[in-house]
Amino acid sequence: MSLSFIIYLVINTLVVLAIAPLFVSIIKKVKAWTQGRQGPSLFQTYFNLAKLVKKETIYSAHSSWIMRITPLVSIAAILVAALFVPLVFVPEPVGGIGNIILLLYLLALAKFFMALAGLDAGSSFGGMGSSREMSISAIIEPTTIIVFAALAFVFKTLNVFTMFSASVASGTTSTPTLILLAISLFIILIVETSRIPVDNPETHLELTMIHEGMILEQSGPNLALMELSSAVKLTLLMALLINLIVPFGLSTTLTLGALVLAIVLFALKGTILAGIIGLFESSMAKMRFFRLPSLFAMAFFFSTLIIIIEVFA
């Protein structure tokens, strides 16, 4: 493991931790604007996290070690997954870090623990959230894997690092496959980060909540970790989309100037994408749960289309 890779580990983790709450705030702000409200400050998510960290932790008397370790496992798995998606600087891959299948399964690891924690306290809301989350994640899985396979197909590699290097080198943004890929990745992003029309991140109504239901029993610093990990997950999926489609500015050399430029550009591009997500969310209503499979089927055929185009091209 070279020095530049270790520097990469530090930079990537710090950047993702610093920027993730901002993107969440931006989405909230855009949604507030479309509803004619002023909306919270752009730093509100940071304030919330700081406040939660200072609060006491409350555990249910029925809960077990699952409840206690889940926040740690969840944030660890998602931070490691974030290492698989270079935000601002792409080093040479080391020991299979950056493998796109492993990335997917690290996210699944966090989800597995979260779902168990939802069942742990014995509350029916938690169970409802876990059950719905696992069902959704199961039926979106074929689409996700086909999109990832299409990525591997287009870039002739399984490694996200190599894909990013290739897209920086070519710099093209307009091939039809990439646009189709962007649409599919956007759908996956919406589903995986529990956004409208799949789930509503704002609500605590038992009929609609999925992700929020699972973390209902978390409190204090643990809740802060859960919130932070879902923000990081959002950021890493956004980064995957951004750095594949509009890679310009992504640094492949480790110089201070290039890094600063890359960070600024990434923040800009992320802000725009977050704005798009906010508008997208504001433009539609949450779907009924059992209408979701047809949405996913659409996404599946979309991603299969990419493969077919690539195969016959």
Binding site: G96, A108, M134
Partner: protein, 646 residues
């Protein structure tokens, strides 16, 4: 030389393990059973060391045990493939024996338990001998020995009506399997003129032999549509037997298929497609049925069907890539299939053993009557948890390490020439991904319902942790799951194979480092106040077990989404007093899960054979004159045949 010595030691120790409890079958004393299990552990250790030696050095072993006739002998050859499966058998058997040494004492049946020990040893020995058979003749003999032993073991609790049904079902299926294997071997003998594992060319006979062998091995491996015996036989048999059958015996069928594919046949592309389709269908349907199951052992049985499906998928990909001239990807697929066989043996026997502990503690197999066991059986729950993580293919455990190999070979299907075929492979990839996501959902449900939240029955709230030995066996298997996962890349390098698998140890270290850093940061910055209080029950004074999410509730969304697969049949019959159907008199409503395979495949075949048997049995009228007539006709026929032939 040392290989021969180890093999003889293992053989003798296993024979001792069979004979000692048999000789003392009249005396119900614990010491004999302990000696017998000790023999299993020692014999397995010897076999394990032998297998490791062969795997690492590549020096095999050939030996003839007994030669009744020239040309057919019971001989033994251990090459690396055999050694790999031998290692699998040895590792699982040793851990299961440790567990059984305690478990068997809690079984009913007095001195019949001695027979259980003897038969288990014979079963393990038979499986080991199948794997090391040097020719098809020995293979068939030991295969049948294995089948017979396993039938006796399933029938241990013979008085129960459920067991009897399961036993008969299993017996018919396993004999059917032997029949097809026999047919395949006879066809091959007709083709090559010897019982040796020699390569045959491409011919119609070879293809027919392959089909027969594939059906025979599929029945034994529980491939859909030949799977129905698994969910019957596993719940009925004692826990260690379920663990051995699911963990090891299914892999023996996989071994058989691989041995014939690698050494005998020259496979065609469509053979690979056939195996791939069988594998994918079993994987998807297996896990979908597992999600619907509430009997813990039946659920694990269905999940075994899924995992054998995954192994078959790997084998199918191997054949496909090998016959389209892609040896590198073919090797990756084959290694994925083999590695998954080993991993499944580890985590499935771990899950069966811990599930057996849970059943032992709660006296029920229904997961809806469990719950809250994490507080009462902390060690068992932790061990089951490792198994659940591994089977849900989560990094950095071993289930993921093998599934990623199959994923990689799927992703490499770009290399195949035919475009339509490429699309087909990508669709299979989608289904394959669905399988592993559904298995995560299935094991969240299993772990959640069994161990978390509040106990849902009085038995569950009185459950106690099991004794030490019943934890030791599973603990060894759990550590094997962790080691095989973390050091997968290094282990492949150790046996001299280079595979493009990510370094899981590095990932594990990173995970640990991240968790530790987060913990350290929170330790210094966050509030350390902790309060323990009741779960919010929406204003009711206390949370009742009936208010929790049950296993049924958990899988309901998936059941609705896949309702076309489950095929529930709803009957609604109503009678009314008046002509206009207004005043309701009586009626029945019935929602039933249709057993599609049983109703549309098994029963018609069974009815047809019964009908055919009734017709044929008319020849058997018990009258001596008729039999003399048959003999006379037969003699005439032979004379005519010989006359024409000459």
């Amino acid at each position: 030389m040392i290989q021969e010595t180890l093999f003889v030691i293992a053989l003798l120790v296993f024979v001792a393990g069979i004979l000692i409890p048999l000789a003392t079958a009249s005396r119900d004393q614990r010491i004999f059973r302990i000696v017998s299990h000790g023999c299993t552990v020692i014999g397995s250790a010897a076999l394990g060391i032998l297998a490791l030696l062969v795997l690492l050095t590549g020096d095999g072993l050939s030996w003839t045990l007994y030669q009744p006739l020239p040309g057919c002998s019971l001989s033994v050859t251990i090459d690396r493939l055999a050694a790999f499966f031998l290692l699998l058998i040895a590792a699982v058997s040793a851990c299961v024996a440790l567990y059984t040494a305690e478990y068997v004492e809690h079984l009913e049946g007095g001195s019949r338990r001695n027979l259980l020990c003897a038969c288990t040893n014979l079963f393990i020995l038979a499986m080991a001998l199948v794997v090391v058979s040097a020719n098809t003749f020995a293979f068939l003999i030991f295969w049948e020995l294995m089948a017979g032993c396993s039938f006796l073991l399933v029938m241990y609790d013979y008085a129960g009506p459920e067991t009897r049904k399961a036993g008969i079902f299993y017996f018919v299926m396993t004999q059917l399997s032997t029949l097809f294997v026999l047919l395949g071997i006879v066809l091959l003998y007709g083709q090559t003129g010897s019982f040796a594992f020699t390569r045959t060319g491409v011919s119609l006979i070879a293809t027919l032999a392959f089909i027969a062998l594939l059906i025979g091995f599929s029945i034994k491996a529980g491939i859909i549509p030949f799977h129905k015996w698994l969910p019957y036989a596993h719940p009925a048999s004692p826990t260690p037997i379920s663990a051995l059958m699911s963990g090891v015996m299914l892999k023996i069928a996989v071994y058989g298929l691989l041995r014939f594919l690698l050494d005998v046949f020259s496979p065609d592309l469509w053979w690979g497609i056939l195996i791939l389709i069988l594998g994918i269908v079993s994987a998807v349907l297996g896990i979908i049925y597992a999600l619907k199951e509430y009997d813990i052992k039946a659920m694990l049985a269905y999940s075994s069907i899924e995992n054998t499906g995954i192994i078959f998928t790997g084998i199918g990909l191997y054949v496909i890539f090998a016959s389209s001239g892609q040896p590198v990807i073919a090797t990756i697929s084959l290694l994925g299939a083999l590695f998954h066989a080993l991993n499944h043996a580890m985590f499935k026997s771990l899950l069966f053993l811990t599930a057996g502990s849970v059943v032992h503690a709660t006296h029920t197999r229904d997961i809806e009557h469990m719950g809250g066991l994490v507080h009462r059986m902390p060690c068992t729950s932790a061990l089951f948890f490792v198994g659940a993580l591994a089977i849900a293919a989560l990094p950095p455990l071993n289930g993921f390490a093998s599934e990623i190999l199959i994923f990689i070979s799927f992703f490499s299907s770009v290399a195949v020439a035919d475009p339509l075929f490429k699309v087909f492979l990508f669709l299979c990839l989608g289904l394959f991904a669905l399988t592993s996501a559904l298995s995560a959902a299935c094991f969240v449900k299993a772990f959640g319902s069994i161990f978390l939240a509040l106990p849902r029955s009085p038995e569950s709230s009185r459950a106690q942790e099991v004794p030490f030995l019943m934890l030791l066996g599973p603990a060894l298997l759990a550590s094997a799951c962790i080691v095989l996962g973390l050091f997968a890349a290094q282990l492949f390098l150790l046996v001299g194979l280079s595979v493009p698998i990510p370094d899981m140890f590095l990932v594990g270290l990173l995970l640990l480092a991240m968790a530790f850093l987060t913990f350290a940061v929170l330790y210094f910055t966050a509030s350390r106040e902790v309060r323990v209080t009741g779960t919010w029950g929406c204003g009711t004074p206390s949370l009742k077990p009936a208010m929790e999410y049950s296993g049924h509730g958990f899988s309901e969304p998936i059941e609705i989404i896949f309702s076309t697969v489950y095929r529930t049949e709803m009957k609604n019959e109503r009678k009314f007093f008046d002509a206009k159907n207004c005043i309701f008199a009586e009626g029945t409503a019935d929602i039933r899960l249709m057993k599609i395979f049983e109703e549309y495949l098994y029963l018609p075949v069974a009815r047809f054979s019964y009908l055919a048997a009734t017709k044929i049995s008319r020849f058997q009228n018990g009258c001596l004159d008729t039999y003399l007539l048959y003999v006379f006709c037969a003699v005439i026929a032979i004379i005519v045949y010989l006359g024409w032939l000459a």
